[in-house]
Symmetry: D2
Subunit: 360 residues, 4 copies
Amino acid sequence: MIQAGIIGASGYTGQELYRILSAHPEVAIKVITSRTYAGQPLGSVYGNLYRTGSSNGSSNGQAKGGAAVFSNVSIQEAAGECDVLFLALPHGLASHQVTPELLKKTYIIDLGADYRLKSRDIYETWYKTEHGSPELLPEAVYGLCEWFRQEIKHAKIVANPGCYTTCSILTLAPLVQAGVIDPASIIIDAKSGVSGAGRAAKTGSLYAESSESVKAYSVASHRHTPEIEEQLSILSGTDVTISFTPHLIPMNRGILITAYASPKPGVTGQDIADAYQTAYKDEYFIRLLPDGVFPETRWVKGSNFCDIGFLLDTRTNRLIMGGAIDNLVKGASGQAVQNMNIMFGLKEQTGIDSLPIFPA
Amino acid sequence: MIQAGIIGASGYTGQELYRILSAHPEVAIKVITSRTYAGQPLGSVYGNLYRTGSSNGSSNGQAKGGAAVFSNVSIQEAAGECDVLFLALPHGLASHQVTPELLKKTYIIDLGADYRLKSRDIYETWYKTEHGSPELLPEAVYGLCEWFRQEIKHAKIVANPGCYTTCSILTLAPLVQAGVIDPASIIIDAKSGVSGAGRAAKTGSLYAESSESVKAYSVASHRHTPEIEEQLSILSGTDVTISFTPHLIPMNRGILITAYASPKPGVTGQDIADAYQTAYKDEYFIRLLPDGVFPETRWVKGSNFCDIGFLLDTRTNRLIMGGAIDNLVKGASGQAVQNMNIMFGLKEQTGIDSLPIFPA
Amino acid sequence: MIQAGIIGASGYTGQELYRILSAHPEVAIKVITSRTYAGQPLGSVYGNLYRTGSSNGSSNGQAKGGAAVFSNVSIQEAAGECDVLFLALPHGLASHQVTPELLKKTYIIDLGADYRLKSRDIYETWYKTEHGSPELLPEAVYGLCEWFRQEIKHAKIVANPGCYTTCSILTLAPLVQAGVIDPASIIIDAKSGVSGAGRAAKTGSLYAESSESVKAYSVASHRHTPEIEEQLSILSGTDVTISFTPHLIPMNRGILITAYASPKPGVTGQDIADAYQTAYKDEYFIRLLPDGVFPETRWVKGSNFCDIGFLLDTRTNRLIMGGAIDNLVKGASGQAVQNMNIMFGLKEQTGIDSLPIFPA
Amino acid sequence: MIQAGIIGASGYTGQELYRILSAHPEVAIKVITSRTYAGQPLGSVYGNLYRTGSSNGSSNGQAKGGAAVFSNVSIQEAAGECDVLFLALPHGLASHQVTPELLKKTYIIDLGADYRLKSRDIYETWYKTEHGSPELLPEAVYGLCEWFRQEIKHAKIVANPGCYTTCSILTLAPLVQAGVIDPASIIIDAKSGVSGAGRAAKTGSLYAESSESVKAYSVASHRHTPEIEEQLSILSGTDVTISFTPHLIPMNRGILITAYASPKPGVTGQDIADAYQTAYKDEYFIRLLPDGVFPETRWVKGSNFCDIGFLLDTRTNRLIMGGAIDNLVKGASGQAVQNMNIMFGLKEQTGIDSLPIFPA
């Protein structure tokens, strides 16, 4: 059994990790930390986890390793007890706590942004904070499983990609790599559910403020932009600059991206389909939709799938692509477990192969 | 492996059964029928099930037994191939198809209403249709697992309880049985998500008609009323008549009941708590909430749990009880699988022990 | 033109008052105060009010009296400029600011709780704060327009009823007054949209926490309980104690109450209908629904209507009543304007006669 | 008083027209037709309109002209009684009923698509039906009020623009006309609430199918595309071809468009702002948002406003524009009344100047 720890477990991604890991056949959850809720049972903070892991009198055996109460052990202590630590911390914290010494004791899967960008400068420009361990950046592997599986296998520290970025790169990478679209023409119009804003009590995330409405936000300034650009640049071998516009959708989970690009001269719909097939035909978690069908977030809810569809509009000579994921699963905790599975040599879909739940 | 069939699989409960059974370690789905969609792959009707069970080229192995396409085999044919059939049909159909001969070939778990009421007369009065096999009513076992486990073990045909009834009876039964409340005083104010209305394209179920609103419906005339009354009468040994008022809530899943009753003279809050403990202390799927905490449907979503809380208001000398379930899981498909587990001697939570998913 | 001021205008009821008053043909909004947002234009806090009242360059003339910016004038100063002040303050504040001297300068319509209860003791018990001006309690008129119209006409200070209480009392008062139900048997199961919780950034009001769920809260302890009891006691001439259970519904606006009571012996459905007709046949804002039809919150959204329906269930000998209002209109700001209309001798529906908006 | 008729009043736009017109100070609603609901009171089909227009015993005087019941008079008969007819029919019907003779008797404002496109061929290609009165196309005026006010003043028949088109053209027209963007680069990513799909009972519009999800639909094939192209072509003097992708958003009302275009060389943000100011500085219903602020549908809900914002992203040299309207008001019934006001020489905002309602 892999002994796992969740550091900063009281956010939406942290508790989702707990839900997934508690059903994982090869994992025992050893440590769950929360500074805010230290000492409290999980179930008093998240009612869905009520009674989980208690051993006195209850027959509810989901929890493993006695991990029923939020603890406040340090990341260093946790590293001593665990084979792998999932960090679910606000950006800027992880880079000040992870050290080469820590990496000798445990594997790290960081769900935050600190190790996603190769360039310290770009990180500090977009995140407006100092990076605490730039010396680890070359070592950190970008944990987009379908594209960096080999590197992940041998990584000590994996940077789990952002939610928007996972969906965007998975949708665009095959085409950028195959050279069938003009990278300079890429526009990504993204839509996210409200859980993406986290559990912080902000006015804009209130039901009365975010239901029954739709808006763009962080126009031309969202922090996932450089992450998408960096990866697409690596894959295409050229500097890719994109337009990225996120929107807030009145739903709990889900990310949909609608992407636009100009096909290279002579490229046909079949070429696009072939590029996707080449990249993903053996990928369990990528579902290429039938011709002309576009993804919907409801069809991936609760699962680790990424659904992809496209249409080459000959009238306008523009390619329209759609990608959909569950932001808390493939966009965060599910992909983190997928990374763990790869790092520990398990079958990749272990513990994350559940079908989407509908209607939900 | 248990060979299972789902008859009438294109409704919400049918596809939810598919989702649950496809992850069940002891089940192979052998047959999935739909008159409307015969010949079509599941994924073209329910995008969440896209690519499920396909074997050509995909590595997606969720489906078992090649059950990827809706078939139109008859219930009789299906019985020949399957150890158990789940019937997810509109009321009035099952009773005309199930026969003593059929029960020699296969086990039946009927998710419809046809075998829930012991009295043919009461059935025909409330459902306004003729019962097709009243001779089977004595043999059919009411599949409320926590209360009829012993009978279910030996049943050939189980009537899976209704969603409102499951939640209502689980909340009230311990108190009625313990004689701590006056059965004549029971009022159940129930709230259900829109999935309870099924997938039929009715104006009242449209987003624009059911979102952003709440209403009572079928006041004093809902068909789950006699089912609740019959079971509470059996448990209390007296004729129980209740007021039952369902409400439509703008959410997909979930049933909440708020029940009111007068405690018998001298009954204390501790007596109530004791009655619940006595009934449920060893029940995996019943979560008795801490003192004064009331259930919320979000905390059980996607799971087979039933959460129960109560408060004895000494100011008014009235007991207020709350119960919450996921109507498609414990209120339908999850409990159906729980019944199957009992009938086939499996550990009761096999395949239905997943934690609730949140936020969703 | 009536010069009006809104004190504490940055909450949902405050801005709703602004919306209603700005279209009122007899009112000029003179003062709008907010401690938090003093100096800021309304439109920067509530985008729906963007550009309202600006006079430089815009042709948008909705605002009157130049009231486009939140000010921080004191209630005393505002009283000097205004004929009427609407107080939309957290409970406990108004009673410390309203004085007999103030009432010589202006009329007061208090949307908070401070003057709703006749008994200082009951107020201080339920609200856990000291009342600042108990000497004004005898003078304050309870502003439930349909029941206290004559008193409101001559009042200097009106206590605008709570949202739950408006809906509850309007539904129950005719029957209690007519003596056709047993007051000791009253149970009110109430459902409210999330706007009732206000604009404060609380975790429980987040979209991800309140959507797709339903729960009871403040069971047997909600502060609107004594207000309902006091008014029903006055109307029935006996001490009425009720059970009141509020629920949170995933919708923005609307309150629905489902009330239960035992009819007095011999009372018929026609007696109930007659009691309602007697009370409300000439009331513009009360819509008595056809026989057997129950109200839905969507049908009153954005309007000052209260819809009422009922059913006498002879099977259980129980009366089930339904009432629905828009909590921000008839449950707060609309009724406040209705009170103003009465106090100033205007036609009662002036400025609040718009039809409900649907779908919305 | 203008005598008005609504032909086909049982859809969402028809009943919204009723709501708006019933509060219009210069209009009497003379006729309301519905083939399906002929003979039934409005309130039995739309509960928000309950009791409207009844004269027996009720003091509710919203209705005018006795228009409380759906009638089945023909459009010809209605023309004899009314000064103006609003047609709210499925596309393809109006063009077969409107004749030159009819236009001698009454003014026509058609909310459908039949007279929006100048080219019969393009109409028949995109709508796949024969046009019944192509001879009237030259005479029909495109009723986008802010751009064709002079023509509307003298029109006998006005084609009320589509919802997506109104929002798209209002956002793009000033820039296309000013020549500050490259028309060939325009991409419109549009988002609409579910009421846009109408009241037909379709599976895809069910709460359980459209809530908690987002999807693109009619990709590269939506019928509003040629309408946008035609108008932008007229304004720019060149053939404009655009990419248009509509999305379904889980909300009742509202359209948001996010549009992308390349600025012409040398164009600055100030140039963009100037183009908007030039076009709209005196427009009551266009609200140009402050620098960098993007529109949100909640801020226009229930109103006839169109909010517009933009950002020139110098990093990518791309212009991002946002526009928001209420699809049932400025996108349909509100603009129809605005057209009527212009045609009849009334002040343009008469009866449609209400502020947006929030939260709703």
